[in-house]
Amino acid sequence: MNPTPEQIQKINHFSKVHIDMCAKIASVVDIEECEPKEQLLTEGDTGDTMVLVFQGQVEVSKNMMVKTASGFATSRKPIIRLETTDPRPAADPETEPTVFVVEAPAFGIGEFSLVLDNAIRTAHVNATTPLKYGILSLEDFTNIVKDNPEIGGSVYFEVAKSAVNNLATASGDISNLTQAFFFALTR
């Protein structure tokens, strides 16, 4: 079953795309369902698909090297949880307070795949509630953009915005890590 054009338009990246164009995108996406704990994306994998989440909550996590009592170990650390608000998740979402939750009517994950061929996944994504989602492939999207170039401008702008934000955060992280490194060296 395809999503409705309105469902597509709820996703931030497509919010400025005309509803008729959203219908074209909806026509190449199938709604799928999965259970909690199912892994949608794996860190380090390459892919050319964007995941569009229409209902439910997902957790984004990364593998981190941490020091434990028994030495160094790789541990998966949750970074953020994304939760739909229209509609709300079908089951109670995770509410553990240490992880930040971002709410949106619907959202897309892996948006860089709409630009890059075989983009590397930078984090794991797991469902934490029953999930309704769709997959938009780079090939399908590129074909739509070829036929309707006006879609590209607004979507690529949102993807670029997201990339710039990530770059600013990464720059802050490098600065913090450098400071922490020198701080630790001088103690």
């Binding site: 990364k62 981190m64 941490v66 020091k67 650390k77 970074i79 930040f100 955060t169 990464a170 720059s171 802050g172 992280d173 490098i174 600065s175 913090n176 890590l177 400071q179 922490a180 701080f183 630790a184 001088t186 103690r187």
Partner: protein, 465 residues
């Protein structure tokens, strides 16, 4: 620092009396203006209120405090523990024997007391019998054994056998505890320190000829702490002679090795305000130099006990400064640091070295250069007003400020930049490695700042009294 043109550039200019009057009037206006600040009038009352508030905070429920003290005394004192259990045992055996041998003890009371002393009116009651049995218990426990009373039934005798065997153990333990306490006191010279008076006190580790002068100066400043603990292995008699004669100071001597953590804990370093580490001449011959590694080691130990304690280290060898900085010493004092400066000043500015000597060596009570707390209500005022306040109210000359600067805080430095995940991970990992996220608070000075220099609560005044 004041950045106005040097004073000698203005020397050649003629100053008219009108100009002088103008300057004086401006100052007068400033004083009058200051006097109109309502807070100034209220300062005394506020200071008193603050003192009362801080005292009332210290008060707590006296009953719970009493019980916690008794509990602490019981836990800390082996002798009290054994004595308490011996008493419980005596009371238990007395109760048991009173019940088992009631008839025998009852008849004994009648025979012994003969009506002269009874809790009952005409004949002994259970209390008389219990007291009589208690007498028997004490006589047995203390191994005196008068033999005036003894159990009759088999059960009573059996119980007495158990009591006598138990008594053997208790008396032995009690005797052993008394002996161990006496031996411990003999070995450590421990006159158990009263924990309550040690809060914000000064601990001085090490002994050399500068210590009496340090004590003299502290003694003459009434605002500084009066409770001091000296930790060093110098002969007790030498210390006693050196610390006699201070009226204000309450000095305790711990004759042990100050590099040991347990010894520093005994000096309540966790509650100390300042910890001073000096080159230790204890047990050295006149030509021998003190071991300064001890100073670095002690600084590390002190900081592991209390990160907040203000550690002042005095070193003779400049090489040790970097080690002490790494060990987080708050202030490091190096001898002869000012000598080249003083010598040069004898040539360039005669009078300055003499002034410096007078200022530093001033030992008269409450005189000389001192650091005083600025009333909270004056926080936010400018330097000229603070200066006028001290001059106007106390006749002191404000020469500058000591400013407590918070150390570098990695947490503050990182702020909200980057992802929270990375920030939390940095904090967790550094915390796990035992690295504190903030460096220590330290003091910097601001001498004779510009008139509009603003004062905050981190400032305290350096005044010449």
């Amino acid at each position: 620092m004041n950045t106005e043109a040097p004073f000698d550039q203005d020397l050649d200019k003629e100053v008219t009396s009108t100009e002088l009057d103008e300057v004086l009037d401006a100052n007068k206006d400033l004083y009058n203006q200051l006097n109109q600040i309502p807070e100034i009038e209220a300062i005394e009352a506020i200071s008193i209120e603050e003192d009362i508030a801080s005292e009332s905070e210290k008060e707590s429920n006296p009953l719970s405090e009493f019980f916690s003290r008794v509990q602490g005394f019981y836990n800390d004192n082996e002798l009290v523990r054994y004595a308490s259990w011996a008493l419980v045992l005596i009371l238990l055996s007395t109760t048991a024997l009173t019940i088992l041998e009631y008839d025998m003890f009852y008849n004994d009371v009648i025979a012994d007391v003969d009506g002269s002393f009874t809790f009952g009116n005409t004949e002994p009651n259970w209390l008389d019998t219990f007291f009589h049995t208690f007498w028997w218990s004490i006589v047995t426990f203390t191994t005196v054994g008068y033999g005036d009373v003894s159990p009759v039934t088999h059960l009573g005798k059996f119980l007495t056998i158990i009591i006598m065997l138990l008594n053997f153990g208790v008396v032995t333990l009690l005797g052993g505890a008394v002996a161990s306490v006496l031996v411990a006191q003999r070995l450590t010279g421990d006159d158990t320190l009263d924990e309550n008076k040690f809060e914000g006190h000064l601990v001085i580790a090490g002994w050399n000829k500068t210590v009496p002068s340090i004590l003299n100066l502290i003694d003459s400043n009434k605002d500084s702490t009066s409770v001091i603990i000296l930790v060093n292995e110098t002969d007790k008699d030498i210390i006693q002679r050196a610390i006699a004669g201070y009226e204000r100071l309450d000095i305790t001597h711990i004759p042990e090795n100050f590099t040991n953590e347990s010894v520093l804990r005994k000096a309540f370093l966790d509650k100390a305000g300042t910890f001073m580490i000096l080159p230790d001449n204890s047990g050295l011959l006149p030509h021998e130099d003190p071991d300064e590694d001890k100073t670095v080691l002690t600084c590390l130990t002190a900081k592991s006990i209390s990160e907040a304690c203000n550690v002042i280290a005095h070193v003779l060898d400049v090489e040790n400064v970097s080690h002490l900085q790494r060990a987080n010493a708050n202030e490091i004092v190096i001898p002869d640091e000012h000598v080249p400066h003083l010598l040069a000043k004898h040539v360039t500015d005669p009078g300055v070295p003499q002034f410096f000597d007078d200022l530093i060596l001033q030992e008269e009570e409450d005189k000389g250069l001192q650091e005083v707390r600025i009333p909270k209500t004056l926080s936010g005022q400018t330097h000229n007003k603070i200066s006028a306040f001290y001059k106007f109210k106390y006749g002191w000359l404000l020469v500058g400020y000591a400013i407590r600067k918070a150390g570098f805080s990695l947490d503050e430095q990182m702020g909200e930049s980057g992802s929270p995940l990375i920030r939390n991970m940095i904090k967790e990992q550094l915390d796990g490695a035992g690295i504190n996220l903030t460096s220590d608070e330290h003091v910097i000075v601001e001498i004779n700042p510009a008139d509009d220099y603003k004062i905050d609560e981190k400032h305290s005044a350096l005044v010449l009294r």
